[in-house]
């Protein structure tokens, strides 16, 4: 039968659990989803690469060795070498840093600004809300890659600009999520209880509402991060992202196109890295959603 597990009937009330147990429960719930666990592990591996890349990488990412150019994978060069004899593995490891720096910082910025907008818009409502939401609608009415290209095309691709563009692109989505959570929470009785007590808006926003908006925010942020990887890589591929000789994955794929036949590993490994990280983050985000917001289907 297709009906979902009716928790009300499956587990009788009351469930009494200590807080530590609750955390362990989250952990167990996550581990019970092997796919999400795999995703999380993949994410963590890439995160470690990003943090410790230069120490992990056997060679410098810019270290050229002309005699060793275009070598297929060997023990010395597990992912082969590129047209300058640079170690593809090292470039991928160090490239993770760029992805996390761009996508991660961009996402964090977007989360910060989007959360602010969403909180203000949802909590105060009225004309301000109307204006903010219209503006976000406009941003949303332009496909994100298009907007990124137009913005980067005009301001030029620099690291800072890329981060800002990622942030600008994802503010609307984050703000919307936060706003809808706030709208929901705002009518919750505990928030009304705070207003009845005469709490300041800042207290209500940051102590009553924000902590409860964190789980969906976390899920959304991880989702956005996975999209930002995609975006940054696409921009790199189109030549409007990180500039060479940075070990950007999208850029590597772009460079690898000329070697599609002679050195397919130059394409395969960065592509694999992008896919693994995006899929891993997606899976993790999926798992997070199930752990933090049980009962809600993926949307």
């Amino acid at each position: 039968m297709s009906a979902s597990v009716d928790t009300a009937t499956a587990t009788p009330v009351p469930t009494r659990r200590s807080r530590g147990e609750t955390l362990r429960l989250y952990g167990r719930r996550l581990l019970r989803q092997p796919i999400a666990t795999v995703g999380t592990v993949v994410f963590i591996i890439f995160l470690l690469m990003a943090l410790f890349g230069p120490w992990i990488a056997p060679y410098g990412f810019e270290e050229q060795s002309i005699p060793d150019r275009l070598q297929s994978p060997t023990l010395q060069h597990p992912f082969g070498t590129d047209n300058f004899g640079r170690d593809v593995f090292s470039r991928i490891v160090v490239g993770a840093r760029g992805i996390f720096l761009l996508g991660g910082t961009g996402t964090i910025l977007a989360v910060m600004m989007g959360t602010t907008v969403g909180l203000i818009s949802g909590y105060f409502g009225g004309l301000l809300d109307e204006i903010l939401m219209r503006l976000l609608d406009v941003l949303l009415s332009i496909p994100s890659l298009l907007l990124a290209l137009v913005l980067l095309g005009t301001v030029g691709p620099s690291l800072l600009n890329l981060i800002l563009v990622v942030a600008v692109l994802y503010i609307p989505m984050i703000a919307r999520v936060v706003r809808s959570v706030v709208l929901d929470l705002k009518t919750k009785e505990f928030v009304e209880a705070a207003r009845i007590r005469g709490e300041r808006d800042s207290y209500v926003l940051f102590r009553e509402i924000l902590p409860n908006a964190l789980p969906p925010l976390l899920v959304e942020a991880s989702m956005r991060f996975s999209y930002s990887i995609f975006l940054v890589a696409s921009l790199g591929f189109l030549g409007l992202g990180v500039q060479p000789p940075s070990p950007d994955w999208g850029l590597q794929i772009n460079e690898a196109r000329n070697y599609l036949e002679s050195a397919p590993w130059m394409l395969a490994f960065p592509a694999l890295a992008i896919s693994l990280l995006v899929v891993g983050t997606n899976l993790m985000s999926d798992g997070l959603r199930r752990v933090l917001q049980p009962g809600r289907e993926d949307s």
Partner: protein
Amino acid sequence: MLSFIVRRLGFMVLTLILASLLIFAATQILPGDVATMVLGRFATEQALDNFRGEMGLNRSLVVQYGDWLFSFVQGDWGESLSTRADVRDLVLERLRNSAMLALVAFVMYVPLGIVLGVVAAIRRNSWVDHVISVGSLAFIGLPEFVTGLLLIAVFALRLDWFPSSSAIPPDAAFFDRHTLERLVLPALTISLVSLAYIARMTRSSTVEVLGMDYVRTAYLKGLSRSRVIGRHVLRNALLPTVTVVAIGIGWLIGGLIVTESLFGFPGIGRLLLFGIQRRDLPLIQATTMVIVVIFTMANLLADILYGYLNPRIRFR
């Protein structure tokens, strides 16, 4: 229903106006002096002034914006800075090509995505579901330029089933073997991501509907599974999919930019990239506006369709 459409139309016009402002601002205000950019740094002050006068650049931005918007609405989209061609002809011609590509992609991924999503939802938590769900996640994680390159490597270079380049002539007829076979690979490239997206969305909305009381009612009325799915579930589960398909057009456009330049397909996405690489303002503005118009219209259409299909909105 009518007032619903009118309200949505109103919002659309508002959105478009704001979007045009944004595009205008992004392209016109940020990059600095257009005249210098076009004439070069060593142009004389006189030449710059002449150019500004000619292009109306010395007027206030508000006037410039109004003027631009007005002529845009009237169909005068200006002359491309880099090719000296009439922007409107250029954009519309490329738009036609992109529409062909999008149509082929659409025909590929929408039905398949829906079927996969429904199947995954019905067989929830079975291996079929897991394969479809994880598979769709994997495809969502594959950027178009990777899938595209893989498809080229396999189907064009290795197997030689389809051409690797999709450079179709400007007047290519749609129902033409030559054209269609050139559309297959790029369409497939765009489709994979959208397919995965639609499958996921359909799955989740179907799962949601499957958990509704009325589905339980339907089963307990003694209806066969196929009848429950066909008559009671799909009708409601596909409603959100309508919206998803429309929103998917945004993905489609993002995919078009990458895919078209990958396959050398003369569509609006590649034209936009061309314009951006050349800082061709009129071209960027027009292309972007056209895409935004299409995008918002698709959303409007989806809204109306949704409203029409959903009796809760239709009979308010």
